[in-house]
Subunit: 213 residues, 4 copies
DNA sequence: TATGAATGAGTATTCATTCAT
DNA sequence: AATGAATGAATACTCATTCAT
C-alpha cells in the first residue's frame, strides 16, 4: 500500500515536472504572451484539463516557475559564497556561482530578464517575488563589499553603489549569453570576468589611483 | 503652393511623431502585449484608423520604433568614440556615450532589453535589425580593443571575447537602471564604471598579472 | 446468502438515496448549471465515478429527481381528493393537498417551477414527463369541475378554462413561497386560499351574478 | 450635420434594440445557460465583437433586459391602477394590467419566472433588482387592500397576507400561459380571473361567512 | 465495486485590423 | 484624410464524462 502510494506520488511529481520543464522551455522560447496553454498541453503530451488540474492558471504556472528557479539561484549563490572566507575569494565565488547557475540553466536567462524587464508599477506577483529575491542576493553582496571596503581590500566607494554595479555587471555578462551561450569556454569566460572585476582591463595598472566620491 | 505642401508635410510629420512618442512610452511602460491600439489612439488623441494610415500594424510600429532608436544609439556612440584618439580615451568614451544615451532615453531601456530578450529563432524583423545594430556596435568596439591589445595597452585576451564581455558589462550597467534610474549621479556612476572597467575594484593592484589564454 | 444480498441491496438503496437527497438540495439551491458533479460528489461523500455508476448523466439524475417527486405529488393529491365525495370538499381537498405537498417539500418548489419554465419545444425528457404529470393532475381536476358545473354548484364556465385557472391559481400560491415559506401559518393560508377560490374576496357578495360566456 | 448625427444615433438605437429583442427571445426560449453569445450574434446578425461593444458581458446584457422589462411592468400597472378610484375597480385594474402586460410580452414570462426562481442567496444583480421591483408592486397592492379592508369592501384579513396571495394568484395565472398563451381569449380569461378573485367560484354564495383570523 | 486523474469539446471575451461614411 | 463601428479569429479556462487501477 505504502509502495503504491509512493509510486503514485512519484508519478504525479514526474508529471508535474514534465509540465514544468516544457513550460519553462516554451516561456523562454516565446515569452509569456506568445505561447498558448493548448500548445503547452500538446508539447507536454497532456490534455489541457490536466495542465489545469496541476496549475491554477497560466499566470500561476509562470509565477511558480520564476519563483522556484529564482530561489534556486539565490540559494546556490549563497551557499557557494559562504564556503569561502577572504573577501577576494568570496567575490570570485559570487561571480563564479552566478555565471555557473545561468550557464547551467540557459532557458532561465530569458525568463529572468523578461521578468525583471516588466514594468514595476504593474506589480504582478512573479515580478514582485523575483525582485525580492534579487534584493536578497544584493543584500548578501553588499555585506561582503562593506567588509572589503572597511579592511582596505577594495576601493573606497559607497557599498550600495558598488553592489548595483556588480549586480549589473554580472547580469550583463549573463545577458550576453542570450544570443549565444558559449558551450565550452565557461572556464575562460569566468577567468576573464573575475580578472576584469578585480583588476580591470589595463595591462599596466595606473600609477595614481583617482579619488572616489 | 509649395508652402502649403510643406506645411502639410510638417503637420504630417508632427502627427507621426506624436504617435511615435506615445507609442514608445506605452511600449516601455506596459510591454508589447499589455496595451491595445485603442489605448494608443486615445492617448495619442487620434482615431484608430488614423494610426493605421501611418503604420501598417502594431508590430510594424514597434519595429519602426526599435529600429529608429537603435540606429540613434549606434550613431551617437560611434560619433563620440571617433572624436577621441587614444585607446583608453576611446574606451572611456564608449562607456560614457552608451551609458549617457540610455540615461537620456530611459524608456528605451526596457524596449532594448525586451527585444533582445525575444528568442532569436523567431527572426521577427525588429529583433533581427536590433541584433544587426548591436553587431555593428560590437564590431566598432572590437576594432578598438584589437588595437589596444596589439599596442600593449590592454591585457592580451581574445578581442572577440573581450568585446562580448564589455558589451555585456555595459548592458548590465544600464540594466541596473531598469529598477531605478539614478537621477543625479550619472557623473559618479560613469566615473566608477570607467574605473572598474579599466582598473578593477582592488585597491592595491595585484603584483603579478595572471596568464590569459 | 439471501440476507447478504438484501443487505447489499439495502446499502445500495441507501447510497442512491444519499446521492438523490444531496442532488435535490443542490439543484434547488443553485439551479442546474450552478453546481458541478464534482461538488455533488464531495457533498454526497462519494467518488465522482460512483455517482456515475448509479446515474447515467447529470441530466438523467435531474430527470429522475423531477419525475419521482412529481409522481409523488400527483399520487398524493389524487388520493386525498378521492377520499372526499362532495364537489366543494373535493375542491378544498385539492387545494389543501397541493399546498401541503409543496409546503412539506420546499426544495421541490424551485425544481417544479424551473422545469416548467424550460421551453417546451426543447422536449427534454424531464420537462416532457413533468408536463405529462401536470396533465394527469389537470385531467383529474377537470372531472371534478365538470361535475360541479353540471350539478349547479359552480359557475357555468368552460371546465377546461376553469381548470387552467385553478391550476394557475394554486401554482401562484405555491410560487409566492419561493421567496419565503410561511413556517407556521399553513393552516391560515389554506383557509384563506380556500375561501378566496370558493367565495372571492368581497365581503358582501354582489347581488347580481354576471353572465359568463 | 444635426441630421446626420441623429440618424446615426437612431441607427445605433435600432441596432441595440435588435440585439435586445433577439437576446430576450433567446433567453426566454433557452434560459441563461443554454444559449451562447455566438448564437446570439448569429441570430441578431451581428459579429460577436459588435455585441460586446454594446453590452459588457452576457450577464450584464441579461440584467439590462430583466431590469428594463420589469420596470416597464411596474410602471404600466401603477399607471393603470391610478386611473381608477374605487377599491373594486382598482383591484380589477390591477389584475387586468398585470395580465395584459404579460399577454403582450409572452417572452418575458419565462424570464420573469426563471429569475424569481433563482436562489435568493446568490444575490445576483438581476435577481436583486427584480425582487425590488416586485416589492414595489406589492407595496402598491397592499395600500389598496388596506383601504378596502378598512372601508368594509373586502374580507377582514391581514393585508400583507392578502397581498402575497393576490400577487401569487396573478403570477399563477400568468404562469399557466407558459405552456400556451391563449391568443384570442384574453378578454374572457380576464373576466373569469376578476370574477374568481372578487366573487369566488361558487354559483350561490355561502350564506354564512366564516370567521377570519 | 469504488476511485479520481485525465480528457477535450465547448464558451465567454479580447483586440488587431478593416472599411463605409 | 480622418473616423470609429464592425468584424471574427484566437485563447484561457471549465466541467461532464470516461476508464485504468
Amino acid at each position: 500500500m505504502d509502495k503504491a502510494i509512493s509510486r503514485r506520488a512519484e508519478e504525479k511529481l514526474n508529471r508535474i515536472n514534465q509540465i514544468r520543464d516544457t513550460a519553462e522551455r516554451l516561456f523562454a522560447q516565446k515569452g509569456f504572451f506568445n505561447f498558448t496553454m493548448k500548445e503547452l498541453a500538446r508539447k507536454a503530451e497532456f490534455a489541457l484539463g490536466t495542465i489545469y488540474s496541476y496549475f491554477q492558471s497560466k499566470s500561476q504556472l509562470y509565477d511558480t516557475l520564476i519563483e522556484g528557479k529564482t530561489r534556486e539561484l539565490v540559494n546556490f549563490v549563497s551557499e557557494q559564497v559562504m564556503s569561502e572566507t577572504t573577501i577576494t575569494k568570496q567575490l570570485e565565488k559570487f561571480i563564479e556561482a552566478k555565471l555557473t547557475f545561468f550557464h547551467q540553466n540557459p532557458d532561465f536567462i530569458r525568463l529572468y530578464f523578461s521578468e525583471t524587464y516588466t514594468a514595476p508599477g504593474q506589480s504582478q506577483p512573479a515580478v514582485f517575488r523575483l525582485q525580492q529575491q534579487r534584493a536578497a542576493l544584493s543584500a548578501r553582496l553588499t555585506e561582503i563589499l562593506e567588509r572589503g571596503i572597511k579592511d582596505g581590500t577594495l576601493i573606497p566607494v559607497d557599498a550600495k553603489t558598488l553592489t548595483r554595479v556588480l549586480m549589473g555587471l554580472t547580469d550583463g555578462f549573463v545577458f550576453s549569453w542570450i544570443e549565444a551561450v558559449p558551450e565550452k569556454s565557461l572556464a575562460i569566460e569566468l577567468k576573464i570576468a573575475k580578472h576584469i572585476f578585480l583588476d580591470g582591463v589595463l595591462l599596466k595598472p595606473r600609477a595614481v589611483k583617482e579619488d572616489y566620491l
